[in-house]
């Protein structure tokens, strides 16, 4: 066979919430041979699309073992399981494109099930806080062109979003920040000296679970109140006053916050407080905040679910209309209460990330997994349907962490018979409707 090499440019990386859109992919003989500009995480996603853990054929569990089956058999089996279920859980959705999420919501409505994204175990508290107090935010382009004070709070982008500093926040020369890094100040607040903290102009080491206290102290300092405590959450008073002054006197400040804020003690109250700090700072200067969303299209699920149902995650259709009450209708809670009697997991691996009790219940019920790679969840699945990978083998739309939608590109053909998530879900939905006589 003749070897052909093509370079496809301006490919959007479908790994983390940065959605870097300048990737060059070298395709040789129908396979991805190399990438340029993608970080180690993005490159891994592109270069390991086919091997080593790729599932290429649908699998159905027969007598305790996963056996290869046709797509028709697998979708029929999935539809039968879901149509029979009284309280199915449809979970995942963060690493697939918006079209699939839309069909997923239609399927949840048809089944009267609970649909939830990984948001409920990462930035769910941010969403709750935003619903309570609102948010002052902007796009990453604004950050690039304007920000002269960048704060990373409870996140380590060098490891989780490697190109975040070089693409958007610190390194680029922006319209008003012509010297790039030299025109900006970097503050990192974290419980340990991370790789991001090593680059910081000011590193604030806060005690674990001390974020709420520290934000309160910063708000006091911003308003000019003097407090007597020598240290707050492990941070000396002078340091807090210095940081408050830096925040007040910058031209355009931005706080990027991660799970260190959302998932430590206080949860949505922490985020609520950080948003309030930003609101207070806007009395003195321009300040915004942006959550560091992890999976590449977890923001997209929030968007799709909101325009389809009115709610961003943890949506329960059991009463025939969408209902939203995180803590009651979120995936972990329905699993921990033992309500779920079947689960559809799309583009996610809850077995690896959920609490043991929730996973124990998941292991007792039939699980359908739509996922291109072997994972802990596929190991306990009754049906596994491998799709084409969005952003590599099929097109689609994804939302960057700052809510900017970008069109994912197709660079190679999927393995034979692997359809996009949205088409597989469409087949399941059609079969469910047929089984229910609708």
């Amino acid at each position: 066979m003749e070897m052909t090499a093509t370079v496809i440019s301006d490919v959007v990386c479908s790994f983390c919430g940065c959605l870097c859109d300048d990737i060059e992919v070298l395709v040789q003989d129908g396979k991805i041979a190399d990438t340029r500009h993608a970080c180690i995480l993005g490159a891994h996603r592109f270069l390991n699309a086919m091997e080593p853990d790729r599932i290429k054929k649908p699998l159905i569990r027969v007598n305790g073992e996963l056996k290869e089956a046709s797509l028709e058999e697998a979708t029929q089996k999935a539809a039968e399981i879901l149509a029979k279920a009284e309280r199915p859980l449809l979970f995942g959705w963060s690493t697939t494109e918006c079209g699939a999420q839309q069909v997923g919501i239609a399927l949840a409505e048809e089944l009267g099930g609970v649909i939830d994204a990984t948001t409920s175990v990462c930035h769910g508290p941010s969403v709750l806080a935003v619903q309570e107090v609102g948010i002052s935010s902007c796009t990453l382009g604004d950050v690039k062109n304007r920000a002269d004070l960048v704060v990373y709070w409870g996140c380590n982008p060098i490891q989780a979003h490697p190109r975040h500093l070089s693409r958007y926040s610190m390194c680029p020369r922006g319209f008003f920040r012509e010297r790039g890094w030299r025109d900006r100040t970097l503050i990192v607040v974290d419980v340990r000296r991370t790789d991001t903290a090593k680059l910081a102009t000011h590193f604030i080491q806060v005690n674990p679970n001390g974020d709420y206290e520290l934000v309160n102290a910063l708000r006091l300092a911003v308003h000019g109140y003097k407090f007597t405590a020598e240290k707050v959450a492990g941070v000396p008073r002078e340091e807090i006053e210095k940081i408050a002054e830096l925040m007040k006197t910058c031209h355009f400040g931005v706080i990027f916050f991660g799970l260190g804020v959302t998932m430590s003690a206080g949860k949505n109250r922490n985020v609520d407080n950080v948003i309030s700090l930003v609101r207070d700072l806007n009395a003195y200067t321009k300040f915004v905040l942006i959550p560091m969303r992890g999976h590449y299209n977890v923001t997209g699920f929030g968007e799709v679910a909101t325009w389809e149902t009115g709610y961003p995650f943890a949506v329960d259709f059991s009463r025939g209309y969408p209902r939203y009450n995180p803590g009651e209708t979120s995936s972990n809670e329905v699993l921990l209460r033992g309500e779920v009697d079947a689960a559809l997991i799309v583009a996610s691996d809850p077995t690896a990330h959920f609490p043991r009790k929730a996973v124990e219940h998941l292991a007792q019920v039939p699980v359908i997994v739509i996922e291109p790679f072997r994972s802990l969840t596929t190991e306990l699945a009754s049906v596994v349907i491998p799709p084409a990978i969005a952003g590599i083998e099929t097109e689609g739309t994804a939302y960057r962490m700052d809510h900017v939608p970008l069109r994912l590109r197709k660079v190679i053909e999927p393995p034979e018979g692997c359809l996009p998530d949205r088409e597989i879900l469409g087949m399941v939905l059609e079969r469910v409707r047929k089984l229910r006589g609708n």
Binding site: D22, D34, T35, A38, A43, P162, C171, P172, W181
Partner: protein, 153 residues
């Protein structure tokens, strides 16, 4: 290639800071050795028979340094995570590629540093300001590296 640590070199030197080599301390001499500005013969105490074992160890240790064909930037592939800070911050990269100044990956063939396969590679050392006769001394890439993966030899 594994980088030779200055502390390893120092360990095998006499550590007397005698100054006979022309620099005041053994650590400074270790630095000169690594920069290939001095040879082992310039340390008289090291040439005494009692130090022959130490000298032999140093010859082994410094073999890759003296065998290197040219000076340049070494990126430790095990440390690098392809964050691209160095690519964007590199003044030479930004001069040749307006894309880079805005945070994107370089398109032009003249780029000094490029991320390939998830790791930074030195693509065009001759454009690097550090090794340019008129604009020497730039350390921007190494200073912006969060994992200390960039070193100069």
């Amino acid at each position: 290639m594994k980088l030779v640590s200055i502390y390893k070199v120092y360990e095998f030197l006499p550590k007397t800071n005698c100054g006979l080599c022309g620099v005041p301390t053994c650590m400074a001499f270790a630095n000169k050795l690594l920069r290939r500005e001095a040879g082992l013969d310039e340390c008289p105490p090291l040439n005494e028979p009692a130090q022959s074992k130490q000298r032999q160890n140093l010859i082994e240790l410094l073999k890759p340094v003296f065998e290197a064909e040219q000076t340049g930037i070494i990126v430790d592939a095990e440390q690098c995570n392809g964050c691209g800070n160095c690519v964007v911050i590199c003044p030479a990269n930004a001069v040749f590629n307006l894309n880079v100044a805005g945070g994107k990956g370089p398109q032009a063939q003249t780029a000094v540093l490029v991320v390939k396969g998830g790791r930074v590679e030195v693509a065009n050392l001759k454009e690097c300001y550090r090794f340019h006769p008129t604009t020497g001394g730039c350390r921007a890439c190494a200073e912006s590296c969060p994992t200390q993966a960039i070193k100069f030899v």
